[in-house]
């Protein structure tokens, strides 16, 4: 359950970042959106770091660490298999 809550938090932060990203694509000089984007980036990175230390990598190709002595990428459940 703790895993689900952390994942939900990542989903929410990442969605906020994505929305700000699209907004900034068409309003690149909006200082308020830029400040919010950078703030959310910080929070998102902290959450992802905490999640990956305990539950395994979120991203492939070197964007996430692999802790422990097994390649967790092929161990953790795939997105369409998770029972939310």
């Amino acid at each position: 359950m703790a895993q689900y809550q952390l994942l939900m938090q990542i989903m929410q932060l990442e969605f906020a970042a994505l929305e700000l990203n699209l907004f900034l694509d068409t309003h690149p000089d909006c200082q308020e959106a830029l400040a919010q984007y950078n703030k959310i980036h910080q929070e998102l990175m902290q959450c992802k770091h905490a999640y990956e230390q305990t539950y395994g990598p979120l991203c492939n190709f070197g964007f996430s660490p692999n802790t422990g002595n097994y390649w967790k990428w092929v161990e953790t459940p795939w997105p369409w298999e998770i029972k939310y």
Binding site: L18, T26, P57, C59, W78, I82
Partner: protein, 190 residues
Amino acid sequence: MWVYEKKLQIPVRVCGPNPRLASYIITQYGGPEGELGASLRYLNMRYSMPTNKAKGILTDIGTEELAHMEIVATLVHKLLEGASVEQIKAAGWGSHYADHDKALWWENAAGVPWVAAYVSATGDPVADLQENLAAEAKARAVYENLIRLSDDPEATNVLRWLREREVVHFQRFGETLMDIQEYTKQKKYY
């Protein structure tokens, strides 16, 4: 370059097996207004866009549409999970089962396969952005049809969220179109 993130954009739940609803929702996987076509339409248009802003929005919305394709795939997969062949047949999706079992496939709700002709690219940035506005409006309309067809409240929540995204994309493409029109006007004085 793309990097995969091992998570959905939003959580996807369904109330139980529902092959009939799956047979309708599959159109947003591989139908004319579906997420595959949307993603490929935008990512493909980037190469003929004159401004960095337009290339940026097409990259980012094209990438988000790929995440939506994964959400739609998960919906169909979960609606078929645990469904018996009898249930699939009774739901009128025996024709899909004959060719694909419970595998996903890019087709519309009538089983017609996805074709590249669903996607247009003229090389004219104004015409292409107007195509995108129409595409977003049509995708929104199809999600509204699916919401009316849905008898699964959990699936309806996901469809509502996807519908909302099409509204935001429409807005951003509208802003991009105005920007490109401004850009092409200025270019005449060079």
